[in-house]
Every structure is written in C-alpha cells, then in structure tokens.
C-alpha cells in the first residue's frame, strides 16, 4: 500500500462529506477538514422576497458550518474554514448573472467545481501540506495504467451520479482527488454516518443552488443587481411563434429558459414552450413541445478525461442536463476547439449555457458547454 499521507476533506456540513471524513479518519492517513466559505447567506436576505433566514442544508449557512465543525470535533480531526467569497463571486456568481442576462441557463455547480473546489481548495490543501483532497461527490476516479490517464466513472449509486458536474476536472486535479463514496449507495453512506455516531446522519439532501435561497433565481438577479448598483439590462422584446409570427411581448430574456412552459404570458389552445432565446434581438421563440426536439448540439470550452483529445468521430452517450438520461450520439470535432454531436433520436430542450457530458459506458469521455 501507499505510505500514509495527509488528505484534506472538503466538508460542507452535509451527510456525504461528513461520511467521507469519518471513513478517512479511520484510515492511516492524516485527515484535515476544510470548509469553503463561499457566500454570505445573510447578504441579500429579506430583499425582493428572498427568505430572511436560510434553511439548514445549504452550504455556507452558519448552521452548516457548525455541523461540519461538530463532525470534525467528533472525529478528532483538525478543521479550518477557508474563505473564498471573493473568488466565488468572481468565478461563479458573476458568470451566473451574466449568463442569465444573456438569455442562457447557467450551471453554477460546475463552475464552482472547476474554479473553487478542485482549484482553489486543492491549492490551499496542497499549500498546507496535504497531497490530495477528498470530497463527498458520487463518482469513481481511477487511474488506468494502460492509457496512463485518470478515468472518471459513474458511481455505484446511479441515482446520485454527480459526474455531470465534474466533467471539467483536469488530469492533474483527478490525480489529487479521492471520491470515497463512488462505490457506495446513499443508504450505505447514511449508515456509515450513523455508525460513527454523527448527529447529521438523517439530515436531508440539499437540492437548491447554494446561493439562491428559495430557488427563485429571478429574485436573486434583481436583488444582486440592485446591491451592485447595476441596472437590469433592458432586454424586453417580442414573443414569436416558430412561424415567425409575433404573438406577444415579454419583460426581459432573463425570465426565460429553453423548455420553460409557465409564465410565458400568452394564451394558446395547446401548451407553448420556449424554443429559443436570441440575446441579440431579445426575441423569444415559443412553440409546441415537439418543436423542442433537436438532432444536434454544438459545445465549446471542452475538457477531455478518458481521451487526450477528439480526433475522429466517436460514438458516445450524451447527458445535456443533470436529470437527463444520456442519449446516443455521434461526436465529431469541429474546428476551433468545438464539437458537434448528432443524436440518434432528437433530444428535447438542448439549452445553451448548460453542459454536455459525453459518456462511453460508465466512463466520462469529456464534456463542454452547450453553445
């Protein structure tokens, strides 16, 4: 076996990362708990209908930091809070806001993984003497000597699969990251927490975007822009049918996401969905459910994991949003660091701003951002 090293566990105060700390604290490695303080949950509280007191189960609330600290105390491991609020705002919140304002639908969790958890946190971990970090993500990370690459795979508990948010990890980052829960199911993880006497074993999972209490991103955009003394850009425009016919007006493109049905503000005999948002003309195209289906997608800002780069067409399954069942497609390189995927069956609501993650069986081939 490898000789004992120091491992930093990224602790959020939830069950998963707490179980990771408990598992590793029993190993012969030295374990240090770190919590990233990313967002001040009281910052926009009470403004524009944002809830006053953040509920537990959201990272960076005082309750969650307390829970993480209690776990570290219980396990007898050193524990520190690392403040990265500035980086989080710059690399996650700002891009999130500008993406929405540009008519796209961003995924802050992937940005946070790429910029905070597996970049800043890993850097901090290494500078304090840890060689690797461990997180509570459900994913499998293995080195394949034949290919001389670190391979990211879907976890045993496919319902908890978080590989979709991890496609941006570099080989260097993967080589320094442990996902101890990859081979476990959620009930097994809760059982580990119970066995270690962790009080939070029954704590509910967090689902929302951590900096948006209540999950209402429109309220967040309004409150954030107001705090920054920035005006909400005027992006009101026409609501058009796929035939091109103008059927109404809307208040701003930030209110829409591709595939959205509610809140369109027009009456129609059959349900209407947002098909397309044009950030230049501010035009929002709506149509029937069937019209949401597309055969191709284009993705850029790519990262490759199981291969060094894509040089020839490849058969893969592609996941286009977190809860999407990966669909068969042929992936082809397309100049200037982009790829084009052609699905075997048309896919519903391919949404610019989300990521497309490519799978070969259980392995993550790579991924990119939908253009």
């Amino acid at each position: 076996m490898t000789e004992p090293t120091t491992i930093a566990v990224a602790m959020s105060g939830g069950v998963d990362s707490s179980a990771v700390a408990a598992i590793l604290a029993r190993s012969q490695d030295t374990v240090v708990g770190l919590t990233l303080q990313l967002w001040d949950q009281t910052r926009l509280a009470g403004k524009h209908g944002i809830p006053d007191a953040p509920k537990a189960g959201r990272c960076c609330s005082l309750d969650d930091v307390y829970d993480a600290r209690r776990v570290a105390e219980h396990l007898g491991i050193p524990y520190y809070i690392v403040n990265q609020e500035e980086r989080f705002e710059q690399d996650v919140v700002r891009p999130f806001v500008s993406e929405y304002l540009a008519g796209r639908t961003p995924i802050p969790c992937s940005l946070c993984n790429n910029h905070l958890k597996f970049d800043q946190l890993l850097k901090t971990a290494r500078s304090i003497g840890a060689s690797r970090i461990a997180t509570g993500h459900y994913a499998i990370n293995e080195y394949d000597p034949a290919r001389d690459r670190w391979i990211l795979k879907r976890p045993a508990d496919t319902a908890k699969d978080q590989t979709y948010f991890l496609f941006g990890l570099t080989q260097e980052q993967l080589s320094r990251t442990l996902f101890p829960l990859g081979h476990m199911t959620k009930p097994e993880v809760r059982e580990v927490a119970r066995q270690h006497g962790l009080a939070l074993a029954e704590k509910p999972d967090s689902q929302e975007i951590c900096f948006i209490p209540g999950g209402d991103y429109k309220r967040f955009l309004t409150a954030y822009l107001e705090e920054q003394n920035e005006a909400m850009p005027a992006t009101a425009g026409e609501l058009v049918a796929s035939s091109g016919e103008v059927i109404g007006h809307h208040e701003g493109i930030a209110n829409f996401t591709v595939g959205q049905r509610k809140g369109l503000g027009v009456a129609s005999p059959s349900p209407l969905y947002v098909l397309q948002i044009d950030p230049a003309s501010h035009r929002v195209t709506v149509g029937a459910d069937a019209e949401l289906a597309t055969h191709t997608l284009r993705a850029g800002r790519l990262n490759w994991i199981s291969i060094s780069t894509l040089t020839a067409p490849m058969r893969v399954k592609i996941k286009i949003r977190h809860r999407h069942e990966p669909a068969w497609a042929t992936l082809e390189p397309s100049g200037s660091g982009e790829v084009v995927a052609t699905f075997d069956e048309p896919q519903r609501a391919v949404t610019p701003g989300q990521s497309a993650v490519f799978y070969d069986g259980d392995e993550v081939v790579g991924g990119g951002w939908i253009i």
Partner: protein, 385 residues
C-alpha cells in the same frame, strides 16, 4: 509533535498560581459576596483583596475599581454608559470591534462618531484627536496597545488634550495589560478597561478603572453590586484569579521578564525577516514586547496559518473574532497597507513564558512552510476559463 503557542494576544493560559488562588472559591468559599454570614464574608474577602491588587495595578483607589465580565463589557460600558443622543464621540479606526460596533449602534441613536485614522506607521497622532474635538464632544476612546500590531498609542498626550478640553477619556487597555506599566493618573483617563484572560487570568472576567465622579451609567441593572456600577452576583473565583494575574503581571513588569520577552521577539522577528519578501507592520514605532506582525509577499496568510498549525505553531492572521469571515484586517487597511499584503500578514504574539527553544522551533518551521505555501500559490487554474 512539539506545540508552540504564539497567539497570546488572542488569549493566554492560566498560570499555576492563578489556578491555585482560585481553587478555594469554587467549593470552599462558595458564598455570595453580598451575604452577611461567614460564607458571604469569605467570598467578600476574596473580592476585596483582588480589588486592592487591581487598585495598585491601575494606580487608583480601591473604590475606583469595578469588576465586570471582560474587555467587551468595559468598552460597551464606556460608550453606552456615557453617551446620549446629540453627543459627539471620537475614537480611532484601529480599535477592537467592541468599540467600533458599539459606536455603530450609537450612531442609530443619534451619537455621531469621528474615526481617527492612524499614520502609516500605526500611531495615532494626538493632534488629529484635538482637531476633531467639537463643543458637543463628550468622549474619546483610544486603545493603549493595538491587538494586531502591538503599537502603543500616545495615551498620555491624548489624556492631556482630554483634560484641557474637558472631554471624558476611555482607554481600551486590554492588549496593554501585563505588557505596559499602568498608571491611570499619568494616562489622564477617566475610564480604562482590561480583561483577565489576556494576562494569564481566567476568561469571562475583567475590570474597569472608573475615576471618582465619572457619571457612567451601569450597563446591567439589578442589585447594588460594585457600588451600583455593575449589577450581578460577583464572579468571585474569576475576580480572585484576575487579582492574582494582576499581581503576577506587576512582578513580570518589574523583574525583567518583559525585557527578556522583547529580546525573544526581536530575535524571532530578525530571523524571519531574513526570508525574502517579508517585513514588519508597525515595526518602526514603540510596540508591546510580545507582538510582531509580519507580512510575507506572494502567499495567502490564511493558508500559512493553517500550515503552521499543522506543524504545531499557533499564530493568527487578522483578529480571532473575525474567524469564518476573513475580511482583510481593518487595522492594517487603516494603516494604508494594501489588501493583498494585509491578507498575507501574520501575527506572532508571545506568551511571557516563551523560551529560546520555542523560538528555535518556530524558526525551524516557518521558512519551510513559507516556501511551501509560496511554491503552490501560482498554481494554474483548471483548463476551463
């Protein structure tokens, strides 16, 4: 692993003599100091003796000593107890949050505050205080020694200004206690606050000098304890511990302990400064003997604090009360130090029991840790923009 504690400005351990002095007051002399019977008298004796020691420590009358719960209560009492709507208050931008946040609260109640910024060397210019005085100025509050840099403020000069202009003067002396000889007459203050745990006494107890006739209102209302200046049953064991700590502090100031401490600090500082890209914040002016605030270019102070802790060396960056929210130190920022350097600054504050061997160990650990943290600072981000 060897452990060296160099965060005395956050708190200090009790000295054995202090624990011993407190011991009888937990179970044996447990009485309420207000009671008439023997048990009450035993407790009363403990409190009175401590009061006598504190009077000597401050150089004041016994009746001018008020026991309380510590520095924050003292600071709050000075401000809440003396200021009324319409009054003007002068303090500095490098005070502890127990002063600054209290002043904020009073702003909402119609008390205007003027914050005096330090010079780049960390010193407050008394003339800046004089210039800020207006007819409605009622109180000046200035710290004796800064918790982060250790810089000792010219309180005597400020005391003279207060006397000449008829303004009340409070000194937050929490970080000076046991490090600087006190003389409230020479300082020219009306109020002065200290905390026991910064000078090897217990946490949760402190004392305040209140010059006779100073019309300070009690923060806590209830019984007639402390001559109606602080209600609440006396924390007898704590007060006895504070008394013993003050007695030992007076010895240390007289027997050369503090001079020896300054020599240790100077050696630590000189050796660390041999590392490239380092310097002292507030190093060019008088400081308390135990404190050194050092900046290290090209690193995250937060990471260095953790790295050193994992090697057994306890120091701090910024102020301990801010943990969790690591805003760059307001003290260093007020001195005009930029954000990046403020974040890369660490405070080494030695216990008076520090030894040469402690310094040796810290000097063994610091250069390697600094090199390590610096080497990893420029690591490139992931491939994704």
């Amino acid at each position: 692993m060897r452990r060296v504690y160099m965060d005395a400005n956050a708190t200090t351990p009790l000295l054995p003599e202090v624990v011993e002095a407190m011991h009888p007051y937990w179970m044996e002399h447990f009485g309420n100091a207000s009671s008439i019977h023997l048990h009450g008298q035993q407790a009363r004796t403990g409190v009175d003796r401590a009061r006598e020691t504190l009077a000597e420590f401050f150089n004041c009358h016994d009746a001018e000593v008020v026991f309380n719960s510590g520095g924050t209560e003292g600071d709050n009492t000075a401000i809440f107890g003396l200021l009324h709507p319409g009054d003007h208050f002068i303090t500095t931008s490098i005070e502890h949050s127990a002063i600054l946040q209290t002043a904020n609260r009073m702003e909402q109640k119609g008390v205007e505050t003027t914050l005096i910024a330090p010079q780049p060397n960390g010193l407050i210019d008394p003339m800046d205080i004089l210039r800020a005085i207006r007819p409605e100025t009622r109180l000046i509050s200035v710290m004796l020694a800064n918790n982060e840099t250790g810089v000792v403020q010219p309180v005597e000069a400020i005391g003279k200004i207060a006397a000449d202009t008829g303004v009340l003067f409070h000194i937050d002396a929490v970080q000076g206690a046991g490090k600087v000889k006190f003389d409230v007459r020479r300082f020219g203050c009306h109020l002065l606050s200290i905390s026991a745990h910064k000078m090897h006494g217990p946490k949760g107890v402190g004392a305040m000098f209140v010059r006779r006739g100073t019309p300070v209102e009690s923060l806590l209302v209830g019984g007639s304890h402390e001559r109606r200046r602080r209600a609440g049953t006396e924390n007898v064991a704590g007060i006895v511990g504070l008394g013993k700590a003050a007695e030992l502090a007076m010895h240390s100031l007289a027997d050369g302990t503090i001079d020896r401490l300054a020599a240790l600090r100077d050696r630590l500082e000189a050796e660390i400064l041999r590392l490239p890209g380092t310097g002292v914040n507030g190093g060019s002016v008088p400081r308390v003997a135990n404190t050194s605030n050092i900046w290290f270019d090209n690193l995250e102070g937060e990471a260095l604090v953790i790295a050193l802790d994992l090697k057994g060396v306890a120091v701090s960056g910024g102020s301990a009360c801010h943990s969790g929210a690591t805003e760059p130190s307001h003290v260093l920022m007020a001195m005009g130090i930029d954000k990046i350097r403020a974040r890369a600054s660490l405070r080494f504050s030695l216990l008076k029991t520090a030894t040469e061997a402690d310094i040796d160990y810290v000097l063994e650990v610091v250069p390697t840790a600094v090199q390590h943290v610096r080497a990893l600072s420029p690591v490139e981000a992931g491939t994704l923009a």
